[in-house]
């Protein structure tokens, strides 16, 4: 569950990235977040992962109040939110399997649990036969699947993806979106930032458009609401 009320974010250099933003996303929703470059989408996602703190307003994610959260609690809050980026952010010298297992190891999961969970997640993203490969032996689409598997492996309540298809061709992009839709169907809340109008319009999903740090439209009628 995500709940933002009257959120503003002013960067130290004076940039007003978010200007009084209200947004509520329920458990189990699939939401596209669209808007021109520089409109504040990434800033919004960084507030949700406690990478940044809101200047004013309230940010609640999975029952954690991120305006009051103690530093020592942030790691536990982050385990409830899986993150996927445009640039995959895989560890190049670790195999696909180890990249996914890494996310479990570093929160102290036992090797027995890891051996059970990682193959299951790899199968879910369609990479069960490529666990031993290194990231640079995979296509871009496959690398993003690894990143999605990693985001998924600790069973987060929410997955947020910042332009996950920005580096992929349209066919791969569609596959990734369908994978995210499948993950959503299994119960995980999905927040997906994207630029691609075509892609958004292929799904009938809630679409939130941001411009200059404010929400300008929010509905099921797709991306067309917002003009570049």
């Amino acid at each position: 569950m995500i709940d933002l009320k009257d959120v503003t974010k002013v960067y130290p250099n004076g940039t007003h990235a978010l200007n009084g933003l209200d947004l509520h996303i329920d458990d189990g929703e699939f939401v596209f977040l669209v808007g021109p470059s520089g409109s504040g989408k990434s800033t919004l996602l960084k507030l949700l992962t406690a990478e940044l703190r809101a200047t004013t307003g309230s940010v609640i994610v999975n029952d954690f109040d991120l305006c009051k959260i103690k530093k020592s609690v942030i790691p536990y809050m982050r385990r409830t939110v899986g993150v996927v980026f445009q640039d995959f952010r895989l560890i190049q010298n670790k195999s696909v399997y180890d990249n996914v297992a890494f996310a479990m190891r570093v929160i102290g999961a036992s090797e027995a649990d890891i051996r059970k969970r990682v193959p299951y997640v790899l199968e879910m993203v369609g990479l069960d036969s490529k666990g031993h490969r290194l990231p640079d032996e995979l296509s871009g689409g496959e690398q993003q699947r690894v990143a999605i598997a990693r985001a998924l492996v600790n069973n987060p309540a929410i997955i947020i993806a910042d332009e996950p298809t920005g580096n992929l061709d349209p066919a791969r992009s569609l596959e990734i979106m369908m994978l995210l839709e499948k993950i959503n169907a299994l119960g995980t809340t999905l927040v997906v930032v994207t630029h691609e109008r075509e892609l958004v319009n292929r799904f009938t999903k809630r679409c939130v458009a941001i411009s200059e740090g404010k929400i300008i439209s929010d509905g099921m009628d797709g991306y067309y609401q917002y003009e570049e």
Partner: protein
Amino acid sequence: MKNKKYYVKNKNYGYLAKEGVRGVFLHGFMSFAAVCVTVACLIIMGSFSMIMLNLDHMVQELDQQNQVLVYVDDSLNEAEAHSIGSQINLIENVFDQEFVTKEQALESFVAEQNDPTMFAGLSADTLRHRFVVTLQSSEKMAETVEKLKALEGVADVNAHLEVAEGFGTVRNVLQFVSYAIIIILLVVSLFIIANTVKLALYDRKDEIGIMKMVGATNTFIRIPFIIEGSIIGLLSAAVAFFAEWGIYDLLTRKISELDTLRLFSAIPFSDVLGTMVLAFVGAGLFVGIFGSLMSIRKFLDV
């Protein structure tokens, strides 16, 4: 609360240990350099400690020799000189006295020399009759010496007072210098290890970013680097300890070969083995752990 399932208890200590060991080898050259510098620092620190210990030992030995020499005035003949003995016995803190004539003194002096023939022509008249006075306690030595000096017919009293005091001063200066050097070297080692770990951190900046992203605690992120630092520190301690042992044994053997008069008696290394092991391991762990903590602190504040 429904988020409870995300508070996983650590069940993967093996991973932490493995990562720590891996770090040492991943930055093999830097680790090697850090070990070398830390070993050098530890050896110098150890050597100063051994010098200190030996000086203390020598001062103690001097203290234990609570004997003073009482020289009799030249104008007294042997019989007159001898008679002072009874007065010496009356002085408080005197345990025993033994009269030594100038002839006996010369004899034993010549006998102590490497080449007795050199002093063959020496006349006993260049020396004085004397008493070797043994005191009950060396603490009141200065007081007793004053009383001995006050006796009629006593020309001079030779106590180790000045020697002891001189040694004391030398020791104090050396102690100060040693502490200063030890602190400087500790800081040097600390920075070297901190830099090694910093390099490891830079190397794994992306990994750390991912760890934070998926919810690793700062403690969990820190531990492998602390293990890495500790391994470097402990390895250095082990190498430095055995090197110190070897160097010390070699040096004291060489010195005792030259020191035929047995003026200097070194503490055998085996006497301080336990203390030295503790000191080296302690210093090694200290620079290892704090060195890594120093460099991690800045890194984790993201």
